[in-house]
């Protein structure tokens, strides 16, 4: 078993959903129950694989790629089928494995119009392969392929099962992300050729860049390309406008998957590829990333305050939350990136949950207009309380998961990585702290208007407004449990990510950055007003 997991674990996990798809293709469309069961069974099998992998995962070596496989895939372009799992990807992979079956359970009895569970579930399974593959791929071409595979099912999910404006939203989502990834691909290629790497395998590229070097200009441009690709996916201000439309129009499950996993592909790309490969360019770009992140935090919050549609509000809140994640990443410190991964997981769980609730509210009230809602706590008290909990988690209440993504990110901005302008980042820190106030503002305002008060007359006597159903309980309970569990014991995530982040940064940034301590740091204007930074640098250099 151990050997099997070691050699085949990742491959089987990634492609198991496709086996499910193949089976489902053979089942006639009319047998809906069978389709649901098949899809659920497949996704559960994937989750079981995940658990098996977890049991074999060496938690003392999170910094190393485990269960790694590396075969030549496309000889002509030196691309490998290289997969691996380390502490950075593990939480996200597990998140994916969790989200998919729960989404299937959630849709069990209420598939969005125009029904057709067969197609819908097949798309979800294809998505799962794409998402898991992206998190596991260790070869840039492979990464790119999985990264793109995700687009198709999501496009159809929005285009076919979406809301009234689905045509516009689906195309916008597709075109916008494709635009980013096309330039990202060009960057990957330029990186490969300019670094003279042996292959597209990440470790080869990192080694090639650090040994052969790459010119500053080239590095900056390549990073810019990746920045566009990943930044659009995140999405970062000002590339975020596809997100509210996509979320608002997508079916509930689509929104959940989009929020829970898809957005993380972008941030994951930054920490997995962009920063480790091009640390020097990252240092030069980081202040700008930080700036955009902080703008996103405030801007997303203001956008939320202006919304009247619950789903759109939650979508805008994603812009703000991902801003915190990006702020953590832009510090280029262990602390910040750990916080970012935590933020990704937390945002996945919390915003995913919020979209679930929005979906359920829509199903009961047939509207998400906040002005028409109210009194959810009276009509569906359990759902109301769950909503309240998620709102609290989303605004970063300590003791729930959201806090551990938010506060450490703010914290890390106080002391950004070597070579970054300290004062600038401290300003970012203060502004992002202001973002937490605004977050509380819009989320509580939402809670107040949707859940408190008494139901509006039009819904007061509506018998179809019921409390949480069985399927909802099953699909939500794990989310809620995790939100609380991670909130109370954040080490569940930090323990896993820390080693990996440390290793990936040590490989690139800290070594390089320590070379530019004294004079360059001076030149970059990072002499600290508190003289703390130099101490820290002495430190780093001393080690």
């Amino acid at each position: 078993m151990e050997n099997f997991i070691n050699d085949w674990g990742l491959t089987v996990t990634t492609f198991l959903p496709m086996v499910g798809v193949a089976v489902m293709l053979l089942i006639p469309k009319a047998q809906e129950e069978l389709h649901k069961k098949a899809a659920l069974a497949t996704s559960l099998l994937v989750a079981v694989m995940g658990i098996l992998i977890l049991t074999q995962f060496d938690f003392d070596a999170t910094g190393q790629l485990q269960f790694a496989v590396d075969h030549i895939w496309i000889d002509v372009i030196n691309s490998h089928y290289a997969m691996g799992l380390d502490g950075m990807s593990l939480p996200l992979v597990l998140l994916t494995m969790l989200v998919v079956p729960l989404c299937i359970i959630y849709s069990w009895n209420h598939f969005p119009e125009p029904q057709n569970p067969k197609a819908f579930l097949i798309l979800i399974l294809v998505l799962e392969t794409g998402m898991i593959g992206t998190f596991m791929a260790q070869d840039l071409v492979l990464f790119f392929v999985f990264f793109e595979v995700v687009l198709l099912p999501m496009f159809f999910m929005i285009a076919v099962w979406g809301g009234d404006d689905r045509r516009y939203a689906s195309l916008k989502f597709f075109l916008y992300t494709l635009f980013g990834s096309a330039l990202m691909l060009v960057s990957f290629l330029a990186l490969y050729f300019l670094s003279g790497s042996e292959s597209f395998v990440l470790s080869d590229l990192i080694a090639a860049v650090s040994s052969n070097g790459i010119s500053r200009t080239a590095g900056l441009w390549i990073f810019a390309g990746m920045f566009l690709g990943f930044g659009i996916k995140v999405p970062m201000f000002p590339f975020h406008t596809w997100l509210p439309d996509a979320h608002t129009q997508a079916p509930t499950v689509g929104s959940v998957i989009l929020a829970a996993v898809l957005l993380k592909l972008g941030t994951y790309g930054f920490i997995r590829i962009a920063i480790p490969v091009l640390p020097e360019a990252a240092v030069e770009w980081a202040p700008w990333i930080g700036l955009l992140a902080v703008i996103g935090i405030i801007y997303g919050a203001l956008g939320c305050l202006a919304q009247t549609d619950m789903k759109r509000l939650i979508a805008f809140s994603s812009v703000a939350h991902m801003g915190f994640v990006m702020l953590g990443i832009s510090t280029l410190t262990d602390f910040g990136i750990n916080a970012a991964i935590m933020g990704m997981v937390a945002h996945g769980l919390i915003t995913g949950m919020l979209f679930f609730i929005a979906g359920s509210v829509k199903e009961r009230y047939h509207t998400l207009d906040i002005n028409r809602l109210g009194g959810l706590l009276i009509q569906a008290p359990r759902m109301g309380w769950i909503f309240g909990l998620c709102v609290m988690a989303s605004l970063g209440l300590p003791g729930l998961a959201g806090f551990w993504g938010e506060f450490p990110a703010i914290l890390s901005a106080y002391n950004p990585g070597n070579g970054l302008p300290v004062t600038t980042f401290r300003v970012f820190m203060v502004i992002s702290a202001l973002g937490t106030v605004l977050a509380a503002g819009y989320l509580l305002w939402l809670l107040q208007r949707a859940a408190f008060g008494t139901p509006k007359d039009e819904f007061a006597e509506d018998p179809s407004i019921t409390d949480v159903t069985k399927h909802e309980w099953i699909s939500w309970a794990p989310f809620l449990a995790l939100i609380v569990a991670i909130g109370i014991y954040p080490n569940l995530i930090f323990r896993v990510t820390d080693g990996a982040v440390d290793a990936s940064l040590n490989d690139c940034l800290q070594v390089n950055a320590s070379e530019l301590t004294a004079e360059q740091a001076e030149a970059l204007g990072c002499a600290s007003i508190y003289n703390l930074h130099e101490d820290h640098e002495d430190h780093a250099a001393g080690e």
Binding site: L302, T333, W445, D502
Partner: protein, 770 residues
């Protein structure tokens, strides 16, 4: 599992900085985390099983808090023993051998210190090592990041033990009181669940070992407060109040986030092998010993002050607290009087090293904290005058008293402030619960229209309320007197009252304190008159509340009487020395993590003068209400709902002042109307419009342009040029061939023309280039 991240036990260390903490000590002290655990478990129990219990979960909450109370008392006793008898090994802080910022000044104001621990720094670490007042610390890893363990745990010393006692006691009484007060409420079970959660959070807060844990608990008590203020959320004003409380606190929490961050890295910068530390003891110790730059401490202390201002209702972030009275009365007593709102005061006391150094409390005559406290105490007291709602009177009174505490901390009177916190908890809880008892009877909080003459119908409530009022006003020998008097002495102002010592000469603060003392006495007299004297103006038949309400009232009233005796001042000749300053002895840390402050000694003359001031304030109010108003009311035969000839109708200045007070200094207008409204309204809309029209608009326009240019290229180039030529030639070709002919002749010709032209142009260009 005890983790020593950077702190390592090193008994005879020469280089280490003494922290004044130990990992040893009695089992109860090391395991104080059990106390918050109990209500936490009861929260879960009530949440999941509460509705199925015979008493809907209340019994579980009471049991948990009751046991917690017993444990807290036992812990307290253990601490008393520990304080005097424990001589264990002290934990030292390894400090990086980096060059410390030369001109750090932590020196001169220590010189005049007469305290037993006047020394600071490494030089006398041996002295500390044998100290008997080591706080007990016990931590486990919470999470690790950047290879560093961040811990969670307990820091037990006099302060936390005292807080444990106060919180569990008041919480227990409030639980019992609530079973009657909110009996039959639509969300009875939820109410108790949140009470439990609140107790757990508050208890976690007071035993926090580090600032991160403090921050977590800080926010958790905030959210409990939110939930309980908005307990009756069906009505919008209640949920508005809850939102306001939460948001105002969030504003302050920004400061907490930033302050904690600054401290984290500042401490990390002087410690070896780590990049930061949340440890409260380490932070204080490093600050006390001048290892951190003054700027860093000043900024951190200022940021933390913002948090204090919001949580503890200090001017100008106090506006949420009166609104918070929308919650059930027991909640107001517990959260908005006795415990949560003092969290800010507690935090200052906890991180006193940071504040003491950062705000240069020693040896000066004014600083931010003292000023904030002073202004708050005046603002609160003045606003308490104009309230009709009995709970709002008490709320503003709470603001005022919290201002007192902050003022005390600001002038360096640490013990006095903490002692005032202690006594205030009892008498203010007593007053709140008393007001609740009255309101329970008359179903209203409006003193003017629905109360009056309650002393006959509710004798127990009346008596306890009077006791609480006297204690609050600060008349000897009740609790408030002792603590207030110590604060006034602690200001070190003037010195002509015979008091000695103090950390500076805060004359202004002494004046503010005196004025507040007079105002307090006056508004409480008004409140008592309106509630308990005169004619009953409400409806229905009122009678005394049941035993579950009265018993807590009497217990608190009793404490309001005797609590002051725990800290009889030094030099107070009536009692033996061993009864003097007991509270100070056991509560005030004498350790490396506590700054060296000087202690003032009150004097008879100060005590007498302050008592006279109080009596003066009370007398003036008595004359106005008990004599003048009573007479007017009788004469006109009307109730005093609206006094026909009050000063506001007579004197324009009084009217202006009344208006300003009535509008609460226009702060609410500024916050709700201008700031929140502005953000939510115009600013958010502007941002969104920008988003839709500029950013998204650009995206759309790019798309549209592409499509349009497609149309253009198709229409104007592909079709017009080509087809145009076709059509023209078609028209010219004299009808002859019809459609097919047109195609044959015109269109293909033009296609061919394009083909040739393009080839020629390309060739031409290339020939020129190449």
């Amino acid at each position: 599992m005890v983790t020593e991240l950077f702190i390592f036990a090193e008994s005879a260390s020469q280089s280490g900085l003494p922290l004044g903490i130990t990992s040893g000590g009695a089992w109860l002290l090391r395991n104080a985390w059990l106390i918050p655990l109990l209500p936490a478990l009861s929260f879960l129990g009530i949440l999941f099983f509460g509705k199925r219990m015979p008493r809907k979960g209340a019994e579980l909450g009471i049991a948990a808090v009751g046991i917690a109370f017993v444990l807290a008392v036992l812990t307290g006793l253990a601490w008393l023993d520990h304080r005097d008898n424990y001589h264990g090994e002290e934990t030292h802080l390894a400090v990086a051998a980096v060059e410390h910022h030369g001109e750090i000044s932590h020196d001169e104001h220590h010189d005049d210190s007469h305290d037993e621990h006047a020394a600071s720094g490494h030089s006398e670490s041996g002295h500390h090592a044998t100290h008997s007042s080591l706080a007990v610390s016990n931590t486990v890893t919470w999470f690790q990041t950047n290879g560093v363990d961040i811990s969670v745990g307990v820091l037990v010393d006099g302060l936390s033990v005292m807080m444990l006692f106060v919180v569990t006691l008041v919480s227990l009484l409030v639980h019992i009181y609530s079973t009657d007060y909110v009996g039959g409420d639509r969300r009875y079970t939820h109410y108790f669940a949140f009470l439990s959660l609140f107790s757990a959070s508050m208890l976690t807060l007071v035993i926090s070992e580090n600032t991160l844990q403090l921050l977590v608990a800080w926010e958790l008590v905030g959210v409990c407060s939110f939930a309980l203020i908005g307990h009756w959320w069906e009505e919008k004003p209640n949920s508005d109040a809850a939102l306001k409380a939460f948001l105002t606190n969030r504003v302050g929490d920004m400061g907490l986030l930033v302050g904690v961050t600054i401290l984290f890295f500042s401490v990390g910068s002087v410690l070896p092998d780590t990049f930061g530390s949340f440890s409260i003891a380490a932070t204080n110790a490093v600050a006390n010993n001048g290892l951190l730059s003054h700027t860093a401490l000043l900024v951190a202390a200022t940021c933390l002050m913002a948090a204090v201002m919001s949580k503890s209702g200090q001017f100008f972030l106090h506006t949420w607290l009166p609104d918070a009275m929308a919650g059930p009365t027991p909640v107001s007593a517990l959260i908005h009087a006795a415990t949560m709102v003092v969290a800010g005061v507690f935090m200052i006391a906890r991180l006193y090293g940071v504040f003491f150094e950062g705000l240069s409390i020693g040896g000066s005559s004014i600083n931010l904290m003292a000023l904030v406290g002073g202004i708050t105490t005046l603002v609160g007291a003045s606003l308490a005058f104009v309230q009709r709602d009995i709970k709002k009177v008490l709320a503003y009174s709470t603001i005022s008293q919290l201002g007192y505490m902050v003022l005390a901390l600001g002038v360096g009177a640490w013990t006095a402030a903490v002692f005032h916190l202690f006594t205030h908890a009892f008498f203010k809880a007593c007053l709140f619960l008393g007001s609740g008892s009255v309101a329970h009877a008359v179903h209203s909080f409006d003193m003017k229209s629905d109360m009056g003459g309650m002393r006959k119908a509710m004798p127990h409530t009346y008596r306890t309320f009077i006791i609480g009022s006297i204690a609050l006003a600060g008349l000897p020998p009740l609790a408030g007197f002792w603590s207030k008097d110590e604060i006034l002495a602690g200001t070190g102002g003037w010195g002509l009252f015979g008091g000695t010592g103090g950390n500076g000469s805060y004359t202004l603060m002494l004046v503010m304190g005196m004025i507040t003392a007079a105002l307090t006495a006056a508004y409480m007299t008004r409140c008592v008159y309106l509630t308990f004297f005169g004619e009953f103006r409400g409806h229905g038949d009122v009678h005394e509340s049941g035993p579950r309400i009265v018993a807590p009232l009497w217990i608190l009233a009793g404490l309001a009487i005797v609590a002051g005796l725990f800290n009889l001042p030094k030099g107070f000749q009536l009692v033996p020395d061993s009864f003097q300053e007991r509270f100070g002895h056991y509560v005030e840390p004498v350790a490396g993590y506590f700054p060296t402050i000087s202690h003032a000694t009150p004097s008879w003359s100060l005590a007498i003068i302050s008592t006279l001031v109080v009596i003066g304030g009370a007398s003036a109010a008595w004359w106005y209400y008990f004599v003048k108003v009573e007479a007017a009311s009788k004469a006109s035969g009307k109730s005093l709902t609206e006094l026909p000839n009050g000063p506001t109708t007579t004197y324009p200045l009084a009217k202006i002042i009344h208006n300003i007070l009535d509008k609460k200094y226009y702060l609410d207008h500024l916050y709700t109307g201008i700031i929140a409204g502005g953000t939510k309204g115009p600013l958010a809309r502007m941002a969104y419009r920008f988003n839709q029209q500029v950013i998204d608009g650009t995206v759309d326009r790019v798309g549209e342009t592409a499509v349009k240019s497609g149309q253009f290229v198709y229409d104007k180039i592909d079709q017009l040029v080509v087809d145009g030529a076709v059509n023209t030639s078609g028209r010219l070709s004299s009808e002859a061939g019809g459609e097919l002919r047109k195609i044959q002749s015109g269109k293909v010709q033009s296609y061919a023309a394009i083909l040739f032209a393009a080839a020629t142009v390309l060739a031409g260009i290339l020939i020129v280039i190449v």
